[in-house]
């Protein structure tokens, strides 16, 4: 449905314009709206307004996990800081993590979440096997990945329709 994607992208860009411009006269607002529509049309012509370029369902559901993610990031920040203060306690590992996401955008989000939590970095994403190769700083970080909570939360972001 191109109309849905174009109007969503227009709304997002016009909202961004409204927040950043700070000029609220009739002429300038209508010019901003026209540019937002124009940019969306060009983006549609470029073919970047698909599920991968604008994963709407994923973006809408993102706030649901953000608080949990921020809490996880804070916890592992402290753990990594502890390893840095005592570098001899580093036990670097490579592990393969199974991903249950069905869409590419979901898989990328999962890999991004893994990298975002300090102590684990996704080194390689295998789309065909749905596997992510992860470098962990110590064994406990890798054991944390064996817990499927993050995987399930990202899969829930994808929604049921896709």
């Amino acid at each position: 449905m191109p109309i849905k994607a174009i109007s969503a992208s227009t709304a997002l860009m016009f909202g961004l314009w409204l927040m950043l411009s700070g000029h609220y006269t009739g002429l300038l607002i209508s010019l901003g709206l026209i540019s937002a529509i124009g940019a969306s049309l060009i983006a549609y012509r470029m073919g970047v307004l698909d599920e991968e370029g604008l994963p709407l369902g994923l973006l809408i559901r993102l706030p649901k996990v953000s608080f949990w993610l921020i809490w996880e990031i804070l916890k592992s920040n402290i753990d990594v800081a502890r390893v840095i203060i005592n570098p001899a306690s580093a036990r670097p590992q490579l592990v393969r993590v199974k991903a249950s996401q069905k869409t590419v955008a979901g898989l990328v989000t999962y890999a991004n979440f893994i990298t975002l939590t300090p102590g684990t970095v996704s080194v390689n994403v295998d789309e065909t096997k749905n596997e992510i190769l992860v470098h962990g700083l110590t064994k406990s970080f890798c054991d944390g990945l064996a817990d499927p909570e993050m995987d399930e939360r990202v899969s829930a972001l994808e929604g049921k329709s896709s």
Binding site: L16, M19, L20, G22, I70, I73, L74, N77, V80, A81, V83, I84, I85, P87, A90, R91, P92, Q93, L94, V95, R96, A111, N112, F113, T115, L116, T117, P118, G119, V121, S122, V123, N124, V125, H135, L137, K139
Partner: protein, 116 residues
């Protein structure tokens, strides 16, 4: 009464903001220390990860709380969102590039997965 309340909230906001700035600076120092002290490229990225998340996040939170009006606050929030999306991508790009150019990670002996 209401006026007192507002002044109290304003002071609390400033104290929390300054605290977040200080904590964020501490996180950046620890991350920089990690860049120097850890063993190889892959381990050092975890130090950079602290700077990207805890450091940048807390500094931006502090600036958000101390921002003079809402237009500044909106810009800071947007910077935060942009950083959350781009910094893991950049870290992943470095890790992937290091692996593809043949840099072998130092692995601990109790590591299960050998490179294959």
């Amino acid at each position: 009464m209401v006026n007192d309340m507002l002044i109290f909230i304003d002071i609390a906001r400033q104290i929390i903001g300054i605290g977040a700035l200080l904590l964020g600076s501490l996180a950046i120092v620890i991350g920089a220390l990690g860049l120097l002290r850890l063993g190889d490229v892959y381990q050092r990225m975890h130090g950079a990860g602290i700077i990207d998340t805890g450091g940048a996040g807390l500094v931006l939170l502090g600036l958000l709380l101390l921002s003079p009006d809402w237009t500044v606050a909106v810009r800071i929030a947007l910077i935060g969102g942009l950083l959350i999306m781009t910094s893991p991508t950049a870290t992943h790009a470095i890790a992937r590039a290091a692996r593809f150019s043949g840099v072998e990670p130092i692995l601990s002996t109790d590591s299960k997965e050998k490179e294959g």
